[in-house]
Symmetry: C2
DNA sequence: GTCGCAGTTTGCTCTGGCGCAAACAGCACG
DNA sequence: CGTGCTGTTTGCGCCAGAGCAAACTGCGAC
């Protein structure tokens, strides 16, 4: 199956590439569909490919030996993921699960050196991606060390909404299904605490909840909550 | 001042490089000494250089807008650090402080592309370094989400000791000065809690404390503590 | 030597948020 | 159109660990 160059034109990873260049990059890629809740790759398995998300949302999950799950991040459309090869790793450090039906481009690792050599923006984008994820993860450690659960959850919601928000007449809605449990696993808390806080915020008119749905109705108000720290 | 190639021969970053190659890599580097507690670079400032630690130990610290400090990691001899350039960043996301008197090689960022091109192992090593730091940081997030303070501190001590331990007749000693406060800032707790736990462990014969000193006298026993989780 | 400081220890109190439990409510399925 | 499942809400009790306070101690400076 031949992929159309328009799929990846305009993505930062392929910035500055002309038509033939795009085709060359796509030549070794394979496009596939992942239904909701299916795994794109699994933690600990051998990393044979790297990926780019064309459509949908993907949840990156780490599971501890004891079975605890932590959501490391959500991948948005246009982002590279599973790029273990760029970090010199040969297994995936986490699992990737489709949060909704997804369309994914897959390259074999063998294509990495060629792409890196022939598409300068590609390698740059990949290393920037890794760099900003390191950055974000370290910021998360700081949050967890210094902030109350309330602030952390507010920050997490604002982050998701800013990356994957969809405007509605009610406010900005997270445009993929997300459970209270998911939010708990992103912030290192429990679904009980998340539920309680969302309920309280709903009473205050900051957010509106639903089954696997969160709408931020008052982003500014939520930011106030996020910044209003108690500890000195 | 001309640097001797023996300084960097044998480091993973320069693996497989011959004599003249080593000299070329060193040509653009500058060696300097940083006294204990001096800053090699400062969070938020423009990243103009990258570094390699030749001797000593360096503490990488992030400070939040509210003044909270978190120790992201310690750099050991032979490691690259401050490689913002490799991540496409133009400011340093953290500060680097000499934990003891240090000797550091400094390259201007401009040397990065050349080194990357001429020393294949160098770029590989750098990206692997970043990859494993991302990995470690994510592991830290997991720890903070799922483990008790006791386990986290035990893990942190074991990690430091395995990376920067020095064998003594008493056990394995952390070979740079580290305060209870430092340990607290690595694990997201308070110096009070760290002090209490270390005292308890000292009574059990697992560790031996001192002013800015920690000796692990029974690593295996400490590992048992580290693994012995309470939460399910 | 002794003075002062930075680092450490320890006691006490208080509370955020976790664990447990139970009831409830959408949604998919037959 | 029930029936079951999965996700959500809420109440209650408890405790790990933070905050506060005060005393202690090794070490370096003078």
């Amino acid at each position: 199956m031949t992929l159309d160059r328009s799929l990846i034109a305009g993505l930062p990873a392929f910035a500055g590439l002309d038509g033939p260049g795009l085709d060359a990059a796509l030549a070794r890629a394979r496009s596939s569909r992942f239904p909701k809740d299916s795994e794109v790759f699994s933690q600990g398995t051998e990393a044979a490919s790297f990926f780019l998300l064309l459509a949908g949302h993907i949840r990156v999950v780490r599971t501890s030996p004891e079975g605890h799950q932590v959501i490391a991040r959500y991948i948005n459309e246009g982002e590279l993921f599973g790029i273990a090869v760029a970090m010199g790793r040969n297994t995936y450090p986490a699992s990737a699960v489709a949060a909704v039906d997804c369309v994914v481009l897959t390259w074999p690792n063998a294509a990495w050196p060629d792409l890196q050599a022939s598409v300068p923006s590609f390698a740059t984008n990949a290393y920037q991606t890794i760099g900003s994820r390191l950055q974000e993860t370290q910021a998360q450690v700081m949050e967890m060390s210094t902030q109350q659960v309330e602030q952390r959850i507010a920050h997490a919601l604002l982050r998701i909404v800013s990356q994957s928000g969809r405007k509605t007449e009610q406010g900005i809605e997270i445009d993929f299904p997300i459970t209270r449990q998911d939010i708990a696993e992103m912030t290192g808390t429990t679904l009980h605490t998340v539920s309680r806080l969302l309920s309280a915020w709903e009473d205050e008119g900051l957010v509106k909840g639903g089954r696997q749905r969160v709408v931020v109705t008052n982003p500014h108000g939520l930011m106030v909550v996020a910044e209003n720290r108690r500890r000195k």
